[in-house]
Symmetry: D2
Subunit: 139 residues, 4 copies
C-alpha cells in the first residue's frame, strides 16, 4: 500500500502525547503497512456493571487503532480527523481479559482514509466481540 512513515517507537510517542487519557491502557503490538495490532488492558474506568467492557471503550480502541495505522502511512504532520464510524457489537467482552484490536487500512487516499477494526476478547483466538469501520479526513 505505502511505506511506513512512522515506526513503532514514533507511534508510541505520538500516542503518549496525543491520547494521554488512554495511552496507559494501550499496548502496540505489531505494525506493518496498513496493519496494526494493539491491545487494551481494561481498568475500572473501562468497565460497565455486569463485568463487561463499555461500548465507548471499544469505540476508543477502534478509533485510536485505525488513526495510528493511518498516521503510520501518512506521517505525523497531517492531523487526520475522524469523520464517521460504524460499529457492530457482537458479543460481550470479558472484563478480566485484554481486548485485542486488529486494524486493517482499506483505503489511504490523499484526502480520505478508511480502516477496519476487529476486536477479540482474550487474544486473536478469542471470540470476535465487535467490528468497526472508521473514516478519516486528511486536511
Amino acid at each position: 500500500m505505502h511505506d511506513l512513515k512512522m515506526d513503532m517507537p514514533a507511534l508510541r510517542a505520538f500516542l503518549d502525547a496525543e491520547f494521554p487519557q488512554v495511552a496507559g491502557a494501550l499496548d502496540l503490538r505489531t505494525l506493518s503497512p496498513g496493519r496494526l495490532d494493539l491491545v487494551l488492558r481494561p481498568d475500572d474506568s473501562h468497565l460497565r456493571p455486569g463485568g463487561t467492557v463499555s461500548g465507548p471503550t471499544m469505540f476508543m480502541l477502534a478509533d485510536v487503532g485505525v488513526y495510528l495505522a493511518v498516521l503510520a502511512l501518512v506521517g505525523p504532520r497531517a492531523l487526520a480527523v475522524t469523520t464517521g464510524c460504524s460499529m457492530d457489537f457482537l458479543r460481550k467482552p470479558s472484563a478480566d481479559k485484554t481486548l485485542l484490536a486488529e486494524i486493517e487500512i482499506l483505503k489511504c487516499g490523499r484526502r480520505l482514509a478508511v480502516g477496519d477494526a476487529r476486536l477479540t476478547s482474550g487474544g486473536a483466538e478469542g471470540p470476535l466481540v465487535a467490528r468497526g469501520t472508521l473514516t478519516y479526513f486528511i486536511p
Copy 2:
C-alpha cells in the same frame, strides 16, 4: 408511540446506578415518549488535545441518551444491549461548552429499538457537531 414506563426521577436513578463513571457529567433535561434531551458538561476526562470533546465521549453521550429513552418506553426490567451504531462527526465541539444531545426513538419494537441522536455544541441553537443512530436488542 408508547406511554412512559419510567419518569425523569426513575431514569436519573437508573443512570446513577448503571453508569456511575459518567452520570456525574450528565444532566437529563426533558422527557416525553420517544424523546429525551440530555446535556454533557465536559471535564478533563472528556477532552482531546486541541480543546475539543473526544469521539468516545460523543459516542457515550449518544449511546446513554438513546438507551435511557428506550428504557423510558419499555421499563427498567428489560436489559437492552447495544448491537450497532453509526455516527458522523460533522464539526469540532468546543471544549468549554456543554454538549446537548437530542434523542428521538425511531422504532421501539418487541425485540429491536432504534434511536437517533443529534449533538449540538452550546445548546439547541448551536452548531450540529455529530449525529448518531444506535440500535438495541431487547432480550
Copy 3:
C-alpha cells in the same frame, strides 16, 4: 446554509441525464437550501416477493435524494462521489404506496457533504420505514 445554485428544473434535468434508469419513477416535490422532498412510485422492478419495496430501491432513493440536495447547494460542475452510507430498515414499506424521502443536508463543506434521508410509506404522515445517512466527497 447556502443559497441554491440549482433550482428545481435544473435538478430535474440533471436527474434525467445522470440517472436515466431511475428518473422515470422519481418525482421531485419541494426544494429549499439543505432540504429536498422526493417521491418514488414503485414499479415491478422495485419490488420484492411479499409485496414490499426492496432494500436496494430504498438505498437508491436515499442516495439520489441526498446527492441532488447537495448539488443544489454546490452546483452541477462538481461531481460528488458517494463514499459512505448507513441505513436502518425499520418497517416494511407497502408495495402499492409511494415512498416519500425527506432529505436534510447536515453538513456541506468544501470537500465533504453529509445528509440524512427519512423514508415514509404513503406520505409524510405514513409510517417511517427507513432512515439513512449518506456521505459524499466533492473533488
Copy 4:
C-alpha cells in the same frame, strides 16, 4: 460456526425464486459455513454514466450475499429481514469487469445475524471497491 443447512443447489434455487430481478446476473461460486463467494456480471441496468457500477447495485450484491450466507446456516424456513447496513465505497468499480463479493458471517445468533461483504473488481486479486456490513433479524 454451524453446519450448513442449505447447500449450493438449494441456495441457487432460493435465489432464483426470491430474487428473480437480480438472480440472472449473479453466480454463486464457493460456500462453506459462514463463507460465501458470489459474482455479479454487470449489465446496463447496473451501470452509472461514466462507466461504473451503481451504488444500489453494490448494496444489492452485499445484501443478497450476506442474506444467502445466513440462510445457508439457519435454513430456508426462517425469513430473515435486513434491519441495518453500513457501507463504504472506496474506489470505482469497472463497468466491464465482474464484481466479486466475499461474504463472511460474523455472528449468527438465534435472533440476530451480522455479516461482512468485501467487493473487489475483476476478482479476488482486483482492487477492493467497497465494504459493507449487513444485519438481519431472524423472526
